[in-house]
Amino acid sequence: MEGKRILARSMLSKAPRHWKEVLLYACALISLSFFLLPVVWILGTALKSSLEYLSFPPRLIPVNPTLENFYTAFKSFYAWDYLRNSIIVSLSSTFLACLIGCPAAYALARCRVRGRRQIAFFILAMRMFPPVAVAIPFFIIFKALNLLDNYLGLVIAYQIFLLPFVIWMVRGFFEEIPIELEESAMVDGCTHFGALAKVVLPLAAPGMVATAIFATMMAWNEFLFGVVLTNSKAAQPITVLVGSFIAPERGSMWGEMSVVGLVSMVPLFIFALVLQRHLIRGLTMGAVKG
């Protein structure tokens, strides 16, 4: 009698827990499928022939996978040129932004410059510019300076959103490093430069790496400046190639479109995968502390 009651009670306390766990896993599965489905879909469509991807019912996995879309995308649409452009422009513009931005971030975090608050506010305000507002004058200026349709023009134009971003993030990382560390290094005989190199930079490095990664992603995903400031595959990033598929003659070329989409995503994914530890640090540090 006693044993039965103990058994019943222990079963009661187990049942709700199991039920909750099942619910949790069910939710996890549903959300995972929702958030992964479109990506899997692109992958599938890239491998389908036009017969398949325009047929009903749609299948997630192609019945007769084919590589013909890849062939068309690279041969007829010159996907590789656009990819090359994206790589060059993203990496160069990020490099420039970090080169100029990191010292500025340090100065804003540490030095007592006149007008420091105004400069900081100005940089923050620039993050709020809608890019389309800047694109119009940019077009006019770059046209006059003959900077349309080349790498330099894009790299310069991208600074308008990369620089404020880099400064905003890196400044936060510098501010987290207690100034006492630098001061004690200088007391021990280092110059300011030495203290920078030996103490500050190693501590801020992970944050700067995360920032550089995010900046590269922002530059890679940029479309508006790409489509406005270029007009040929000489310098157009791959985002513009993706956009070209809304033209009526290309509108139903889903296979090739998916290949281009895939090709534009894969470098970024690999980039993110390899450096994900730094990314997560950057995501949480930058946002949570406000």
């Binding site: 500025a104 119009i136 600074q159």
Partner: protein
């Protein structure tokens, strides 16, 4: 005995050290200053002129005409409404779902890290690709969504991209897919950084899950919520890429957002005078909303 003057290199280094802040800030101020002041000045000039870069000979001064036209521009009105509806709907859904998912997945379960990493995939998808993918998924005939509706759920197919209302919904859904994991992730980080004591005290006092959430979790998360709200608002308001690829503002101008409209005026109609006027109007609105939020943020977090 006098001292020897310091060698050039040492003097140079000393000069650098004293003025280092100017060297560090100089390039930034120069670059950003040039990139913002000059364009804004040109845009200001444009506001009072008619200017078509393809026909520079037709440039003329028009005074306040562009500004006055703002008031009677119906397409401006619709795009503003569209943008507002979109931002409101998308962000509410993202925050609601994101918070719910964060609370749900805050517990440690095997494979949690892999699961969360996979869930971040949408965040790293290029906006252009998001638009392109959902354009395919929402296709009336062969799209996966309609297939799901008709074959799995048994309801009728929806004319997603052809119906003004459903197109708005489609665009919101695409954005929710794109950014909910991001919001979820930020909330997760925020939840993990909350102090344990209030929750333990609540447990001792016998609070249930709902009370714990409403009275403790939510108030403690306010700063995080505001930061992410500001961030998402600024981005959502200037949405462009996804619309460009997914609906091109259609059907008609049902999904035309502010950025798309300004782009169309400036780079399709080539009326850069009026486009610049629109840009300034847009800037004013964005600036105003951002200022409000920053103020709220400063109040909350005491910055």
């Amino acid at each position: 005995m006098g001292e020897r003057p310091a060698p050039v290199s040492a003097r140079f280094l000393a000069f650098m050290e004293r003025n280092i802040s100017y060297f560090m800030l100089g390039p930034t101020v120069l670059v950003l200053g040039l990139l913002s002041v000059v364009p804004m000045a040109i845009a200001a000039w444009l506001v009072f002129h008619e200017f078509n870069p393809l026909q520079p000979g037709t440039t003329r001064f028009v005074g306040l005409q562009n500004i006055l036209y703002l008031a009677q521009d119906s397409r401006l009105f619709t795009s503003t409404i569209n943008t507002t509806i979109f931002v409101f709907a998308a962000i509410s859904l993202e925050f609601g779902l994101g918070l719910a998912l964060a609370l749900l997945f805050n517990w440690d379960m095997p494979g949690a890290r892999v699961f969360r990493a996979l869930l971040l995939l949408p965040v790293f998808t290029m906006p252009m690709v998001v638009g392109m993918t959902f354009r395919m998924l929402f296709d009336y005939r062969v799209g996966l969504v309609n297939w799901f509706l008709t074959e799995v759920l048994g309801t009728s197919a929806v004319y997603w991209l052809g119906d003004p209302l459903m197109a708005k919904a489609a665009v919101v859904i695409a954005d929710v897919w794109h950014y909910t994991p991001f919001v979820m992730f930020i909330f997760l980080a925020g939840l993990k950084s909350l102090p344990v004591e209030p929750f333990e005290a609540a447990k001792v006092d016998g609070a249930n899950a709902w009370q714990t959430f409403w009275r403790i979790t939510f108030p403690l998360l306010r700063p995080v919520i505001l930061v992410i709200l500001l961030f998402r608002l600024m981005i959502a308001f200037r949405i462009f890429d996804e619309i460009y690829v997914m609906t091109e503002g259609g059907p008609g101008s049902a999904t035309e957002m502010l950025s798309n409209y300004v782009f169309a005026v400036g780079f399709r109609g080539w009326q850069m005078g009026y486009a610049a006027t629109l840009s300034y109007a847009m800037l004013a609105v964005v600036g105003f909303i951002s200022l409000l939020l920053i103020r709220a943020l400063e109040r909350e977090t005491g910055l």
